[in-house]
Amino acid sequence: MKKLTAIIIGALMFVLMFTGCAKNDDVQIIMPSGAPALVFAQMMSENQSLADRDIEYQVVSGTNGIIAKLNELDIAVMPTNIAAKLYNSGEDIQMLSLNVHGVLYMAAPEEITDLNQLIGKTVYNIGQGGTPDITLRYILDHYDIDYTEDENDNDINDKVLLKFVQEGSTLVPMLISGKADYAVIGEPVISQAISKSEGRLVRALNIKDEWQKATGQPTYPQACVVAKKSFIDDNPEFINALIENLEKDVSLWIQNNIEKAQKAIKDNGGTMPPFTAQSVQNSNIEFLSAAEAKSSIEAYLNILINEIDGKLPSDGFYYTK
């Protein structure tokens, strides 16, 4: 009798193991928390089905979270350079639109009207070698401003000293305490830092604007919406309906419905620092079709070319109707 019970329980557990993996017919939309999650905030809050398909949203932490779900996702928001890298590595994805146009700003004790003001100062950035770092260096290069990472550099007074931390949130106490004066951070963290600094710090530079000035490009392609090509081929009406929704002014909706947006993101698994209407506005969430964004994206990817397997993504990367 005991043996039979054991066998039955074992069989039950075996079967139950697979119920968790049940195939879900909902469309899977996955995004990292932060500004990318704002792209879908309205859709998450209203939670309507599109073209007769229900949607399941997941807000994960960081790009790693997206990579972990590469198999199950149908649609995702991700940094543009990651999307290009995946495409070049043979992933079956296509970029639908550019939706986040730059959330990076510099906090500083004074307005910066001329980048030469940074010479001799220490500028903190997030993630050495990452896109904020490369973007800032590109801008400095454009104005022939020298920079170094070495504190013991002999010409330190003629250069900008670049230092790095892992996370934007690490910079907030440093900026408040005065350990750091100049820092490149993204929304919504920078709004937090400035408001907590009690007037010591201002929003000194708009990295997006500086990038546009330095490159002559119309925008800074921070993050985009991508979809699996197979999904696009199988669900044309859904994709059309999705694009219609993304074309709406989601930024304005969020600014008028902050609490609903925050709740929607939280309910779908996201942990975000608190954001205000102002920080949403500063996050530059706006729809730009893949075709229209192409030249800006290629200019951006060119400076990151080594990180995306040495070549720009082919035309197949950009979705067209």
């Binding site: 790009t63 990651i82 890298k85 992933e91 070698g129």
Partner: protein, 253 residues
Amino acid sequence: MKKAFNKYKNIIYPLSAAALIFAAWLTMAALAGREIILPSPRAVFSSLFKLFALPEFYTKILYTLLRTLISFAAALLLALILASLSALYKPLYNFLSPIILLLRSTPTISIILLALIWLKTQIAPMFIAFLIIFPALYAATYGAIINVDSSLVEMSKVYKVSNKDMLLKLYIPSILPALFFSVKGNISLNLKIIIASEVLAQTQNSMGMGMQRSQIYLDTPALMAWTVVAIILSWLLEALTEVIKKSVIRWNV
């Protein structure tokens, strides 16, 4: 035939284990399908050769090794001194016990995050490794000293052996095996802690940053190439410990 097998069994067993690991890697990479999730051995080694061509590769390894050796030497030295003194003077042992316990029980991540706020990026990883390795080395040394065969100690006292001789001919030889065992295990751990801390501290010229750089751009082959380097370094450090151990023991006898 049997004789030949026995002669080479020290090589055959480890080699078969390595072959098995390699085969498992090949299989899993094929199953995973994507380079980004689990690259094939070929991709990893091609990445590794690309790294060999870069001068920063060597400076990163050098600095990480230096940080490992400095923090380890400091931890070992302090552990030897304090453990010996604690064995001699019970009050010192009682005084140090709660401190050691505190260090051992604090979660590694708390130590790391706090150190990052207080210390410069070059120093933080060494401090973190020191705080984690020191209690382990102290406990191992103290345990080894206390566990010296008491009957031999008694015998030395009966024969009025000088303190110096007791130290050199009884205590040190008795402690060495356990001590080296602890050193071997802890030096690899030290390297691992240093690398992890370097990532969090964004330390210049470090293997940790080399790994992180690969990771943020999803260059998983490069990340695994760095991992292979770290593994080889660990083996080298442990092998070095073995070599030192053998020559010290020879010197002692």
